[in-house]
């Protein structure tokens, strides 16, 4: 039966996280935007303790002994991520925990792999994981990956360069954490997509170097690393999924399936940023005595009222699409189409909403005295990572048309 109300447990978690976002994230948001490449260690340690003790937040233990009921894990996650991103998207991304790499292990890892890697998220010290997909020459074209994994006895040997790894520094540098990086590489270039596999590389594995952290437009509290793999050897059983190269591209689909879980998360983060801007604008308008009049005839609306209404409706549309995609995954339903819808819509909406919000507050909106301009900068990443707007529209189109990636590219 249709129901749009969060369960009391999720609502309570959301309220807790809201307090945290307001009191632990907002006050340091500007600081770690300006101190790019520095880490908010106090915040990180606090979040680590919190997730271990209370089980709240996206970093909460997810080793199968999750305190949260399994049946709403994805919904729980998107609600949590929205709230934390409302606090600050860059800080949210810097929170230790399973992240995208962990999500991949959780989605397709063997019981042994889950044990070996996910149990770390109960360590005393913060642990990060990261996902390394994009390459300098490949961009959105995941199938064109050049990084190779060659079997050599008991090891896979990785060679290649990965860019744009969120938390790649924290997950890959052993001095930062006992983390790991999930790396996409091809074991048979001639097989195209079917040859692409993912490999778990422990932080500090010889041959893996964090070469650089990017200077970015926004989300500056989070590192975006370049990782170089030079004869980097990982144990045979660090491959995720089967080492076989299937005849079809089913294997690649398996790898791509992690996106079905992560895209709603990115969408939720986008919505959190957008809501931050919307809440701020609403409060400011209220202070100025501007009332949003729901229900009046269109001729009576001011331009500002209409802008505000459009913004809030767009955000709510994105939120509902996101909740649906997460809920479907919780139900065990395929959500590939719906996950891309959520991501595409939320990425676009938050870009537009934050850009509009900056404009609506006039001279002050453009100033670094307020956080609005930062939210606009942070927002844009959501239109890009975990598949650009265009990539997600492509996936939606393929699904609704029943086309393969060859038929529509």
């Amino acid at each position: 039966m249709i129901d749009f109300e969060l369960s009391p447990e999720i609502a309570a978690m959301r309220d807790q996280l809201h307090m945290l976002a307001e009191h632990a994230m907002r006050p340091i948001a500007r600081e770690y935007d300006e101190r790019e490449h520095e880490k908010p260690w106090d915040f990180i340690n606090m979040m680590w303790q919190l997730s271990k003790s209370s089980g709240i937040g996206p970093g909460a233990a997810k080793d199968g002994k999750d305190k949260a009921p399994e049946r709403d894990r994805n919904l729980r996650t998107v609600v949590a991520v929205e709230e934390l991103s409302w606090g600050d998207a860059g800080l949210y991304l810097s929170i230790p925990g399973p992240g995208l790499g962990g999500a991949a292990v959780m989605a397709v890892g063997t019981p042994d792999q889950k044990q070996r890697f996910l149990s770390r998220f109960k360590d005393d010290k913060p642990v990060w994981s990261a996902m390394a997909i994009t390459e300098p020459g490949a961009g959105s074209d995941s199938a064109a990956i050049q990084t190779t994994a060659v079997r050599d006895g008991d090891h896979w040997v990785l060679n290649g360069t990965k860019i744009f790894c969120t938390s790649g520094l924290m997950a890959g540098d052993a001095t930062k954490s006992n983390g790991f990086v999930v790396v996409w590489a091809t074991i048979d270039r001639s097989a195209g997509r079917a040859g692409i596999k993912s490999f778990i590389v422990d932080a500090g594995t010889p041959g893996m170097t964090v070469a650089k952290c990017e200077d970015k437009l926004g989300i500056r509290a989070s590192d975006t690393a370049t990782l170089i793999f030079e004869d980097c050897r990982v144990p045979l059983d660090n491959i995720l999924g089967s080492p076989e190269v299937p005849k079809t591209s089913e294997g690649f689909k398996g790898v791509m399936a992690t996106f079905d879980a992560t895209r709603p998360i990115v969408a939720a983060s986008a919505i959190g940023v957008g809501r931050a801007a919307l809440d701020f604008v609403r409060d400011e308008l209220k202070k100025q005595g501007v009332e949003i009049r729901y229900g009046v005839g269109p001729r009576k609306l001011t331009a500002i009222e209409r802008d505000f209404m459009d913004m809030e409706t767009q955000l709510q549309a994105a939120r509902l699409l996101t909740w649906r995609a997460a809920w479907m995954m919780d139900q065990g339903q395929k959500n590939n189409l719906e996950a891309s819808m959520a991501k595409a819509k939320a990425g676009l909406v938050v870009t537009q909403v934050t850009q509009k919000a900056v404009e609506m507050l006039g001279p002050l909106g453009y100033s670094r005295e307020l956080l609005l301009e930062k939210w606009m900068r942070d927002a844009k990443i959501n239109d890009i990572f975990e598949g650009t707007q265009q990539i997600n529209m492509m996936i939606i189109a393929r699904r609704i048309l029943g086309y393969s990636s060859k038929e529509l590219s």
Binding site: M1, I2, D3, F4, E5, L6, S7, D72, L75, Y294, G295, V296, G297, P298, R299, K300, M309, E312, T313, Q314, Q316, A317, A318, L320, L321, W323, R324, W327, M328, L337, E338, M341, A344, K345, Q390, M393, M394, I396, A397, I400, L401, Y403, E407, L408
Partner: protein, 369 residues
Amino acid sequence: MINFELDEEQKLIRETVIGFARDEIRPYAREADEKGAVPASLLQRGWELGLVQGIIPEEYGGSGSEHSALTGAVIAEELAYGDLAIAMHLLAPRLLTVPLVEFASSALKRSLLPAFCGDVFEAGTAAVMEPRFDFDSSAPATVLRRDGDEYVVSGAKCYVPLGSQAKHIVVLAGLANGDGTVHPQAVVVARDTPGLRVGGREKSMGLKALETTSLELDACRVPRDHVLAAGDERAMRRLADLWHVGLGAMAVGVARAAYDYAREYAKERRAFGQAIAQKQAIAFMLAEMAMEVDAMRLLVWEAAWKLDRHEDATREAYLSKRYASDMVLRIADNALQVLGGHGYIRDHLVELFLRNARGFATLEGLAIA
């Protein structure tokens, strides 16, 4: 707790309506538009689905299902998917029965509802809009004033569906507050009330198969209990919300019709050695349509769900209707664009979808959830 699935009864109703819309409505959509009329046999078959009778309490002859805005939204979407004008015609009686069921006194219910539980289509309607550029349903210019034990209604209305057929009409009027402003109030007016004049059939860009008329009310006197939920502003907001959800749901239906039509065409139609759907410019338009149809529906359903919980849903209903109105136009326009020259000729239905889509942003009160 979050759930995105209809319940079993709603699914069953939807399946029935989907079949009817596909097999009975859609094949007549073009003809009905060109002829300006819905075939009587189609109306009768639609009536037999029980979509009007269903929510009328058993004591007045109905099936006694609880009125659900969400179920109403599902029905409205599916019928409108078949054809908007036919859907509005089929559901026009609900414009009267839903407010009666929700807000009327027992006496009024007893007097009016049994007529809608018979075997043949019975017209009912509402007169919400007014022929003014700046019409605002939250402050109607039609005047309602009390006069002793009666009320007196005066004003002009337009876009009254089945205006010449309905024996009773829910009229939206403004009752003066103390401060010179008015608040909206719905009142049931019988067509044979002295002072009431039904105008000629209106001609619009779309909705050609649906009879709509203007209405003049010149000091029409109505009994006190014909004023629905008198003085209950929350009830009147709820009524406006139900109108918004009804139209929003129909917009979803039209949008989905246009999207499906364009998608199937784009897969069939070949140019430059491929199906045109294989071109990004076309494929991305279709992807956006698919995404927005779902977004529209979720927003409309959320408002409907709130109404079913009897919570204040004015914001959700208003915003979802605005969103649906904007999107249905965009989707229908893009659908026509996908068909190109073929979309512009009346061999295909997309031009009809576009004409119908354009009405949503301004029309109010032509449907109810």
